[in-house]
């Protein structure tokens, strides 16, 4: 499966939760599949989805699901120790690990070679770290939401992107409707 197929499958789960979605094609795919006010789409700033989600989870009690990528985690590796030492039980970091920089033309990342993000998350102090195959994402995500534990969920899948339109919504609108969803 590729990322967009996973997102289609888990959209009914994501719909009811606060979601912080990674820059580029992941946000375009989620926006096209099931746009929700409770989705925060990153339009820029590669690497910070996990950090934005952590700040959000620490600031309020609702579950927060971050949809991140292997390339973005590698860009902001310092995030893993911060998560490992601070993440509250409502924080879920889901790393869609397809071994490539999808938004820039599928250049390979180091996770397609020798680098193991789940092992890095464990070494950084993250307690509940689960690696699953693409088809098992939905059940793993539901179990994680039920567990109430801070979790890093590494989803291994194929490289590839769906053709989706660019998000043209104004960033302040994205942010404002998201904050309304957070506060509701």
């Amino acid at each position: 499966m590729i990322r967009s197929e996973i997102l289609k499958e888990i959209a009914p789960i994501l719909r009811n939760e606060l979601v912080v979605c990674n820059i580029g094609i992941p946000s375009q795919e989620l926006h096209a599949i099931d746009d929700q006010p409770s989705n925060f789409y990153m339009l820029g700033t590669m690497g910070l989805a996990s950090s934005i989600g952590l700040g959000l989870a620490l600031a309020q009690p609702k579950p927060v699901i971050v949809i991140d990528g292997d390339g973005s985690i590698l860009t902001n590796l310092g995030t893993l120790p911060t998560i490992g030492n601070n993440a509250p039980g409502n924080y879920i970091l889901m790393i869609i690990d397809n071994g490539s920089y999808g938004s820039t033309g599928d250049q390979p990342t180091y996770t397609s070679q020798r680098t193991d993000l789940a092992a890095m998350a464990r070494a950084a102090g993250c307690g509940r770290v689960i690696e699953v195959q693409d088809k098992d994402t939905g059940s793993a995500l539901e179990q994680t939401l039920a567990s109430g534990e801070a979790t890093v969920l590494v989803v291994k899948c194929d490289s590839g992107n769906a053709k989706m339109p660019v998000i043209t919504m104004d960033p302040v609108v994205i942010r404002d409707r998201f904050m309304t969803a957070v506060a509701s």
């Binding site: 925060f40 910070l48 950090s51 934005i52 700040g55 902001n76 911060t82």
Partner: protein, 168 residues
Amino acid sequence: MTIDKRIADDLAANGVSFVTTVPCKQLAGVIEEIDQRDDIFHIPSNKEDEGMGLCAGAWMGGKRPAIIMQNTAIGVTINTLATLIQYYRMPLPMLISYRGELREPVACQVEMAVHTKALLAQMNIPTYHFHWQRDVEEFDNILKYTFMCNKPVAILTDANFWGGYGDQ
């Protein structure tokens, strides 16, 4: 009252309850003060752009955030300031140690100091420079201004403000 406690008190009085820091010798006292307080949650960052991501999330979650860092961080965070904090219009007080200014003992720090105000001006970031300890009297108003206009705002605090470097 120490300058460190005064700054932390002003943050708390303005409802700032989420502070991330990247350390600096000059900022050690204020970081320690914030770490010990019950009314402010302190989360150290490994890099300043990561810290700005934490602050963005905390603000969307209903908390007033602040970041404490060195001016070298301006070199690290230009993209984050432009495409996250400014683009989504978020407030962010940035208490910055202005390394490389008067009473600085380390020459390399001057190399970023000479770019600091120019970069902040290029980014249209409101910028204040604390040189004398009495300048801290503006801090409360700067915090109110920041959360009024939903912009990143820089407070540059040089070595003279912090009382120099002791025996260095």
